[in-house]
Symmetry: C2
Subunit: 132 residues, 2 copies
DNA sequence: TCATCTAGGTGCAGGTTGCATATAGATGAA
DNA sequence: TTCATCTATATGCAACCTGCACCTAGATGA
């Protein structure tokens, strides 16, 4: 239910973490230069298989990474098909990925704090059920 | 850096999970009826201490829970201070909390898939460093 | 010639959220 | 009495994020 939309259901597909596509792209680019279309296909690693990521979001994130100095881009011809805008991660980009990693670890702690509260609460709740 | 805003830094404080305040409020309300101002204070359980949640968000979520039939509200006088709008979770609300729980567990899986990819990649990366 | 694939991109609308601000009753100190 | 402060709820706005629809255009092969 979270993420419903008027008329049609929004394709949120597990992307419940804000801007999660960004660290995924950073990690892929850390493995070597690449371009939008290829990155889109490699996102399967992160679970974007059933519900693939939207290409517009990817292109926008890549541009914003470049604007903030986390990557550089150049046009390159491939073996086939149209020219590609190939992105390379900068040193600042490496640092940014590390920052994202720490941020996501913090998110994980918050999540598990919630799980702990949930279990704790439900145990009390059920033991109260038995008493009454 | 994620979550920056023009001019000032946005207080995103690790709340990177979409609508995370909602399941927190649901869990608190599952423990018994309560009202906005009190809920705001009890959110500390979930790690909203250093950067407390914004009250406007809480009041909006409570209203939306009521609009969707997940809670009911009534005005009640307290021992002191102005009247309070007291919310009670409905049966549908219990189910909604359960749904949120499953959703967050899925989020956790996605998160750990990323961590696994990250560690995997960094190991390869470092072993390549040694070779060259 | 034309459909299809590859590749990159824009515009828009809907949803989420933090900040500023408004309102108002209750409380206690000056 | 006046006034600051606490308690309590609420609205408007702007920024941000994202999915969907749609567009352009080169390459490829039937």
């Amino acid at each position: 239910m979270p993420g419903r939309r008027r008329g049609r259901v929004q394709n949120r597909c597990g992307r419940r973490i804000n801007r999660f596509l960004e660290p995924c792209l950073l990690l892929l680019l850390h493995g070597g230069e690449s371009y939008g279309y290829e990155l889109l296909e490699n996102l399967g690693k992160f679970g974007f298989t059933e519900n693939p990521a939207d290409s517009s979001t990817i292109y926008r994130i890549l541009r914003s990474l470049e604007n903030r100095g986390f990557a550089t881009s150049r046009w390159a011809e491939g073996d086939s098909g149209p020219a590609r805008r190939v992105y390379t991660l900068s040193t600042a980009g490496d640092g940014y990925l590390l920052m994202w990693m720490r941020d996501l670890e913090e998110t994980d702690r918050i999540l598990h704090r919630f799980f702990s509260e949930y279990r704790n609460h439900m145990e009390l709740h059920h033991s109260n059920d038995k008493k009454t």
